[in-house]
């Protein structure tokens, strides 16, 4: 039985609280890596993080790429979207296939 978390600015993720996720909105972005790390180490199965906040935590996300749990998923927020979610998918395609796939 694992919990589900969401990290991001208040406007982007507070709605996820209504459907039962644990929502974290760190005031400062520097707190993000530490927060994500502690969530990964406790009993969270899925962690959604906005692209804006995910920017500073790339290393940690990468570290958990090859582990089954937790699954860290980038979602778009209200502002400052980087398109990293789609890009990381494309990266794993490139890693496996050796080139990009046509859409």
């Amino acid at each position: 039985m694992l919990k589900v978390a969401a990290i991001g600015d208040r406007e982007s993720v507070s709605g996820l609280k209504a459907i039962g996720m644990d929502v974290f909105s760190p005031e400062r972005k520097e707190d993000c890596p530490g927060l994500l790390k502690s969530l990964c180490e406790s009993d969270y199965g899925i962690i959604y993080i906005t692209e804006e906040f995910g920017e500073s935590t790339k290393d940690i996300i990468k570290k958990y790429d090859n582990k089954i749990i937790p699954s860290i998923i980038l979602i778009p927020g209200v502002k400052n979207n980087t398109g990293e979610g789609v890009r990381s998918l494309n990266r794993s395609v490139e890693r496996a296939v050796g080139s990009q796939l046509p859409d």
Binding site: K3, G15, N66
Partner: protein
């Protein structure tokens, strides 16, 4: 041509031939594994892309409504309203096996079975935009979890495909070629020894005949 550092003997030759057979069989199996992994991966990637597209669209829409709602209500009011649902989402993780890659499968548990519970706050003092946002979010739950599952699976599969492909290539272009070259080298060497032995014997025979009967 890369010949391995071995003695050109019959024993080595037999050993190498046996190893070559094993390497070929391993190569074939790994190639099959890679092809099947690739097939599964491409299917999943397609699903992943579509899912991500629809989820991102819906989230953006919901975020827009949230932004509107936060214009009409204070942050605290929104937090209180959303807290009231008391809903708690947990997942059971099952491990599924795709070509010996363990991938997660998330089964959702709600503490409160009633899905519409997300809007259990009073409507009198909340914005209508909040209702919109929340209803989009609750319709999104399944897709979000599915996305987490598929995306994780894609990552794990791509890592496995990469390492399998490396193994296939290493077997095909390094190990098997080395074995073949070495086997050829030993065969040639043994044949050469055989021939040199024969000529030596012929020569010895000539010398002996000459000594015994003065033949020329």
């Amino acid at each position: 041509m890369a010949v391995m550092n071995v003695n050109p003997t019959r024993m080595e030759l037999t050993n190498l031939k046996r190893k070559l057979v094993t390497a070929r069989r391993g190569h074939k199996l790994l190639k099959d594994k890679r092809d099947e992994l690739m097939r599964q991966f491409l299917l999943l990637v397609k699903e992943n892309k579509e899912l991500r597209k629809s989820v991102e669209m819906k989230i953006k829409k919901a975020s827009a409504y949230m932004a509107l709602a936060s214009g009409e209500m204070s942050d605290n009011e929104i937090s209180v309203a959303l807290m009231l649902s008391g809903q708690k989402l947990t997942v059971d993780v099952e491990k599924k096996n795709i070509m010996s890659v363990a991938v997660p499968q998330f089964n959702v548990n709600y503490r409160i079975a009633e899905q519409n519970n997300a809007r259990s706050y009073g409507f009198a003092f909340t914005s209508g935009d909040l209702d919109e946002a929340v209803s989009i979010y609750s319709s999104l739950t399944e897709d979000l979890l599915k996305l987490a599952e598929v995306e994780k699976t894609c990552q794990l599969l791509s890592a496995e495909i990469e390492s399998t492909r490396r193994r296939v290539n290493a077997l095909e272009h390094v190990l098997i070629t080395d074995y073949e070259d070495t086997i050829r080298y030993i065969t040639v060497k043994l044949d050469e020894n055989e021939r040199s032995n024969t000529t030596r014997l012929m020569k010895v025979k000539d010398i002996m005949l000459e000594k015994a009967h003065n033949y020329n």
